[in-house]
Symmetry: C2
Subunit: 514 residues, 2 copies
């Protein structure tokens, strides 16, 4: 982590990037006043939390690997969802970890798991802590340890011949890219949480990168893994591909800390893009933009950026006041000119009434994208409910799903006023991954309950419309009920059996997945 800068213990990112009280009010005036009532009261940033004493005392031999102080424990109690930020803001640290462990070596991880098994303590692996689904928040009764992997932070080896990097699980996005940059290499995996999430967290949650198509999900980048389970270590073979049985890596991709602690990975990297071409496109309706994008991705073109914004998202996030939909379209390559690809994609847009715009929209949108979690925290302090939900569905289901999500939010929001905007984060030949941002007035002190009801309604709507309960936010604890609806009970039984083999005492992230 970057030296002197302090991470916010209650909200997103860096403490010094949070909006101050005046900035919170100005933000609300500027963007939300026309839409919904705002009382202008700004919840103060909470004082340092005071917690009960830990129920666990670290063994002396491992003492240096543990932090028992209240601030560290409070900061590891929750992820960074809206409901986490609001609870922290109101000083509600419900079930903090008894200890936070910072293993410095794989051997430490083994020792901590052994000790936790002996104490019947739960262990919740923790990468950057950016979970928005209750993935790092233990809700059981046992004493528990948050296993923060951020000291396993070495970029071990950069292999320029095979374009791969061997990296420990606790390396954050920026540190990895810094290590690759001098060699003109990149992982090219930029989730919105990039600055505050780790390689291990990406793998455990099957994170989606910033890019719209092609290799962008962490699943595609994993070449081999090292995992420590309570039953022992597992290492997969480092080869470009194999047909030997079910893939071991795929068992741990999405395992969310419940099957083992990912300690190291070989990841496929690429040369940095030397050629780029991009534009913004305007469409009379969202349906036109969707049709154009479907044609682009089904043609075999693989834009790096192919982000559809519905008219409301385009207005709020990209300053578009014409009531039209937007497409942010871009191509890149390390080796060859991509203008022909952009031209080919544009001609498909034109056939669906698309018109090219000047490029500035893209930059506006990108800045807004990276600031979004800070904005979320600011609006939360003003008493607003601000959260995002995401899914993926086949093309034929999108229109109904989009309508159903908006209707569900508006029906469930007590104020019956809600802004619901939508963009595509990723597009596949067989369907898009829509991402919704929801803003609605809250009621001071009741925000979490109100949000939980909206989330319930939206999740029901997504499942009914044939979308997955999560495309890249993972399951965590918050998506469990709908994950269970969408997962065959027998597959759950197979996963449970695998977990029993790897984690016989069930100490790893109990309550997640199974």
């Amino acid at each position: 982590m970057a030296g002197w800068r302090e991470r916010s213990w209650w909200g997103w990112g860096w403490a010094d990037e949070a909006f101050d009280d005046d900035a919170c009010r100005q933000l609300a005036e500027r963007t939300l006043r026309p839409w919904m009532p705002i009382d202008g009261t700004v919840t103060p940033i909470p004082y340092d939390p005071v917690l009960d004493r830990p129920r666990l005392i670290p063994p002396s031999i491992l003492e240096e690997a543990f932090a028992p102080d209240s601030m560290t424990r409070a900061a590891h109690s929750y992820g960074k969802a809206y409901r986490d930020v609001v609870r922290a803001l109101h000083g509600r640290i419900e079930n903090p970890p008894d200890l936070v462990a910072f293993p410095r070596t794989t051997h430490d991880v083994v020792a901590i798991l052994d000790w936790a098994e002996a104490c019947d303590a739960a262990v919740v692996p923790y990468g950057g802590g950016s979970s928005v689904v209750g993935g790092v928040e233990y809700r059981g009764a046992a004493p528990w340890i948050s296993l923060d992997l951020s000291r396993l932070n070495r970029v071990v080896e950069i292999d320029e011949t095979n374009l791969a990097v061997r990296v420990q699980a606790g390396v954050f996005g920026p540190a990895l890219e810094e290590a690759l940059k001098p060699k003109e290499l990149t992982l090219r995996h930029f989730p919105q949480s990039f600055e505050f999430s780790t390689v291990g967290g990406w793998i455990a949650t099957r994170s989606g990168g910033h890019y719209a198509t092609g290799p962008t999900r962490i699943d595609d980048f994993v070449e081999a893994l090292r995992v420590v389970t309570p039953a022992g270590p597992i290492e997969s073979l480092r080869v470009p591909a194999s047909g030997a049985g079910p893939s071991p890596d795929r068992l741990f991709l999405g395992s969310e800390g419940a099957l083992g602690v990912i300690v190291e990975a070989w990841l496929r990297i690429t040369r940095r893009p030397a050629h780029t071409a991009s534009t913004a496109v305007t469409f009379p309706t969202l349906a036109d933009a969707v049709d154009a994008v479907r044609e682009i991705v089904q043609s075999g073109l693989r834009p790096s950026n192919c982000r559809v914004l519905d008219p409301l998202e385009a207005m709020l996030q990209a300053g578009a006041t014409d009531g039209q939909a937007r497409l942010l379209l871009g191509f890149e390559s390390p080796a060859f000119d991509v203008q022909p690809s952009l031209d080919a994609a544009m001609s498909l847009c034109t056939a669906h009434s698309g018109a090219a715009l000047e490029k500035s929209t893209v930059d506006t949108w990108r800045g807004s994208f990276l600031r979004a979690p800070y904005v979320r925290d600011a609006l939360a302090r003003l008493g607003l409910i601000v959260e995002t939900v995401e899914t993926a569905c086949t093309w034929n289901r999108f229109e109904a799903l989009h309508a159903a999500v908006i209707a569900a939010v508006q029906a469930a929001a007590p104020a019956k006023v809600a802004m619901v905007t939508c963009r595509f984060t990723h597009v596949y030949p067989d369907g898009p991954a829509p991402y919704f941002t929801i803003v609605t007035p809250g009621r001071r002190g009741a925000e979490v309950g109100i949000w939980d009801e909206i989330k319930h309604a939206v999740s029901e709507a997504i499942v009914a419309a044939g979308g997955t309960i999560t495309h890249h936010h993972a399951v965590g604890r918050d998506h469990r009920p709908w994950y269970e609806q969408q997962r065959s009970p027998l597959f759950a039984a197979a996963l449970q059996a695998a977990k029993d083999a790897l984690d016989p005492r069930g100490i790893l992230n109990p309550g997640v997945l199974i």
Copy 2:
């Protein structure tokens, strides 16, 4: 299957495509006489096999789903590896299935599994029977049923909006493409066994398609699966992507019939290519060709064909007599001109002393590729040992692996004379998938033992050199010892636990994977 044409029960493919005795001799004279001694004796095609009576009697309610005749049982005793063909040629049907079942519906599959459990009979799922790794050959003592899925042969639904096809597991390659062709669609998955293998077999074995890069392995095409296990059915959600837990589909991809019977799949399809560009390139050495190909695939270019042939392979399979290596290079797209991609790839070739050749080499090679299994059978009848092995490794390991495989064959072959040729079937940014063809004199009656020793030596060499024991031939029974060396014991324990949950009596393909 295509009406009146008869499948060979002992060898590859169609009975009427097998070389007759004279053609066998001519083939040997033409291609092998300069290389190794050939006695000219042609083992006759065996008479119809006579087998012991089945130890199982089908229940009357399912009688129509079973075939108890000797010819059907013999044809389901082995796959189509060299060692299978030789044993059949010599009339050695060692452990034929007691019954062959041809379920007509998913319900039949359920009923057959229930009945097999009640009888303690083993069940070996059988697609097209093209396994070359002992995948469909049960070697245990229990009575057993070969579960031939070829009557589950419906292309259920073609979804043009989302570019996907819903297809039953027993559909063969040509039937699937025939169904897609009127809509100008294709799965674009053409393993060498295409004509004689099924959708279910491809998924169970993680087959590799004909194409060199991009989406070509069946893993990438699976959108959702329906599987029948002895414990019940499993169905995965049909969405373009999901981040919800470990992927259920990936548990069954590569499960080789040991975890469940795949009965249906949604597969991603694509529009047929409208633009193609291809060439053959000659390189002074194999190393030059390898360097050029590595640069091509690491540049982000995704050729559909990118097949390196070493000088010996180039001579034998593509008629090249200049002692140089060859690269068969091609691009295709349904939507845009690919000549610029070919030009970009060619300029990388030129930088490594590559020179474009006229295109005919490509066609020569392709014809030879499809005829290869028939040639193998003809040479087997002449007493020669003819087989292929394949792997994948990172780029830096290829040169040593290539040398080690050749050395291992030549050391293990009793005659100390062996032709070992190599080509790349697939190339990934992090490494190639080399494919070796081995021809060496046998000793009548001892061929299987000789081959097994060579195979053992080659497998040891591949594992020692850091290659996977199989890139697309699957594990089966023949690769088990090396698979176990390369797989973490704990992952094996997790797989075994999952199997116990899905197949509690262990009836499914015992001896495979776990």
